[in-house]
Amino acid sequence: MTAIGRRHFLGYVLAAPTLLTAAELGPVAGPGLPSPEITDLLDLNDLMTAAALPTANLISVEVDGDGTVSFALPRAEVGQGITTSTAMLIAEELAVPLERVRVTLADARPELVFNQLTGGSNTTIATYTPIRVAAAVARLRLLEAAAAELGSAVADLTLKAGVISGPGGDGIDIGALAGKAASARTRRVAVELTARESFTVIGRPHNRIDALDAVTGRKKFAMDLDVPDAKPTMVCRPPTINGEVGSVANLAEVRAMPGVTDVVVISTGVAVRAATFGQCVDAVRALRVSWRPGTAEGKSDESVLRELRAAELPLGIRPPTPVVEGAFTFYFRSNSALEPNCAIADVRTGRAEIWSAMKSPIVAQQAIAAKLGLPPGRVTVHVTEGGGSFGRKLFFDAALEAAEVSQRVGKPVKLMWHRADDSRQGRTHPMAISRVRVSYVGDTVLSYKQRHTSVSTDLGHGLGEIITAMAARLPVGDIGFSQTFFQLSQTMPYEFGISSRLLSETDKGFNTGSMRNVYSPDVTCARELIVDQLAARMGKDPRRFRHDFLRDDRSRAVLAKVAEAGEWGRPMPEGTAQGIAFHSEYKAVSAALVEIDCRPETVDRPIRDGVTGPRVTKAVFAVDVGLAVNPRGLEAQMMGGVMDGIALALTSSLHLRDGHFLEASWDNYFYTRQWNTPPDLRIIVMPSTSDRPGGAGELGVAASMAAVACAYGRATGTMPSSFPINHGTLSFTPKPTIPPIPPSPADGLDRARRTKET
């Protein structure tokens, strides 16, 4: 259809009073040559891009009379910088200053079907061409309108910085042309996209378009919105995972507490609506509820480990050749963002309106409508800016809950989970084990087998629907969602002979979800540790070994880059070491080199209520995403990925005891803090190797986690096999589960006087 050569596409001018243009996509490239790697044929991003094809033509760009350009992005911005990179694409093709481009987040648009899911680091991959085509149609229409105004030929006009100039030097701002360039009927238009060599915006570092709002406190998140009468609401939750309300002994008493307007039993607990969240906290704590069992009653880390071992697929008969084997355990981790689960709901008779940061708003709209007994068309779902996601906002647990409460009390609600709720009842990255066996002879690796066994990952947020719809086209046979996702997201970057990686899942009793980079951090960490073992067996340096076995030059280039920039192989004191690792995914390649300090004086350095442990003192990360749209944003995503990787390897996990997680605070769940941050961090964005962008939001995690694990093994002389490495030590006193949330402290003034924090 629309691709007429590499840079020629067809777009649309839509019937509208001002200039409104839209685009559809060119056909997806066909599969490459047959190969043992499924991901060579088609990876997760191809699948998602293909799934988005039939409706991408509904992406439209509007030029307004004030000279601004507006675009409602059908994706969620949760910190990954896609509003900025999207504005850059439009600024490039329309030749307008970036400041004139207004990117907002689209409400749920069910007609987009699969094209409104933010996940799999797919946004830029899927939208790179259609957004530019729509902008290019707008540029062409503006030039045509200017030609009529100025009595010149289009070829004699130039569009620069939002102004169209003719041969005589007279200029017209595009705002003055927006009405004239509009069309009374929808028409198809052929356009040529800007050549990569001529880019002036794409590929150059730009600061975020929302940075000023962020640093002044003006950026609005869901809980900052002023929806009339939407009063603070919290839920008293069960002491064990997914427990249910039996009875409430003191409803009337709590309803009479200061500020409280409503107390109702809902499907997930007892909801309290009050004038302030502080009064919600007090009321939740005052409720006396008898609870029924949950879905993980009595379970613990140890019992889940037994379940996982029982569900593990066999590695088969051990070959007669030498082998390297390893078995690794990865405990539950929380994908909780700093903004907790939250949503505003205003449910009235026959209609509902919802505000929340949601990465799958169409599925949310359908699920909320079903819960309320309304037709989906009567539920308006607004996507707000999100305070982080890390996979958490693929689901809409708070929006569903807010809708239920609002319907029950007949009033608008502003519902927020307490941090303790978010940590204990929120979704987790499932606990998993991974077993690897590599057989080799001399300098040749004959086979690589990995059996990954995990507590079930809930993919029921829309990605599942995409996979269901597309799975029949894949050369992987009849395997379920998770298995398909696993096969599509995992690659074997090394020449390791016959390779097989299989996923087995068990136990659907936990609230799980895709955490940033999903299976890859664990799978890659296990693989890279085994690679170090294999290198040692062959008497090779870890970097040299990887270099020799990586499959292509692009991969070797990032490895060489971190080795050079990070001074791989430099002498290190006893108890410290370097580690190096590689990961490819999302049409991108990455390598990490870290240095770790495991000496007692570092491990035992004092930090109040924090886990210190080994410190990553240096991290160098090289990334090649093909075409980097915004190198500064890409660098930011890699920095975040490195911080996640450090946390996953060393400090952050949930401890499951007796059917509940012990963690209820950021001083229980040890995500990377300033005292864990590498003082020396360097991100290297490789020169673009492609005309097409790859994915970035999740890419940095896997290689970082693996490099930290490898460095730890080399510093201590023992390969770690259980993650995070501090999981065996409980570094805090667990908070009670009844009441489910801690009291609000009252010593803020006293604590502030103890200024020096240690």
């Binding site: 600061n207 302030t276 700093l338 927020m416 996640d644 605070s665 590498p678 609000s744 010593d747 502030a752």
Partner: protein, 159 residues
């Protein structure tokens, strides 16, 4: 209900609310000042960090009855005015280093940074790595490295 009078961002305010309601909720739910964010409610994550008479405090842990009429609360919204411009030098440093990702924690980070720089300056010394390690504000996006760079740069321009 009792009335509580104090100053917020240069203006005297009086609120009619129970005295044990924490300042964070008075700011957010009653006064509509939403720059200070909720991240834990127990003085751990520091997302609500604001200033009381120029020093860093966490409003989630301060009952509103503890405030006196002359007490000056400064939130991120009022920070620039304390430096007499559209942006405080620390906010400018945050922009220059493109620190924010999702941005949720950044008001608290900036308020904590300004307080740290003031404290270190009062001690007559420069910021050290140990000072930066001591910042407890969580950033789940992992912007820590850019925060450290921005604090050092912002400190240069604070007087």
């Amino acid at each position: 209900m009792p009335e509580h009078t104090f100053r917020v961002n240069g203006e005297q305010v009086t609120v009619d609310v129970a005295g044990d309601v924490r300042l964070l909720w008075v700011l957010r739910d009653i006064l509509g000042i939403t720059g200070p964010k909720y991240g834990c409610g127990i003085d751990v994550c520091k997302a609500c960090t604001s200033h009381l008479n120029g020093e860093a405090v966490n409003p989630c842990a301060i009952p509103v009855r503890d405030l006196r009429p002359a007490d000056e609360v400064t939130t991120i919204e009022g920070l620039a005015a304390t430096a007499g411009g559209d942006l405080h030098p620390m906010q400018q440093a945050w922009l220059d280093h493109d620190v924010a990702q999702c941005g949720y924690c950044q008001p608290g980070q900036i308020m904590a940074a300004v307080a740290l720089v003031r404290r270190v300056a009062a001690e007559g010394r420069a910021i050290t790595d140990a000072d930066l390690d001591g910042l407890r504000n969580i950033c789940r996006c992992g912007t820590y490295a850019r925060i450290r760079e921005a604090i050092r740069a912002g400190a240069e321009n604070m007087t």
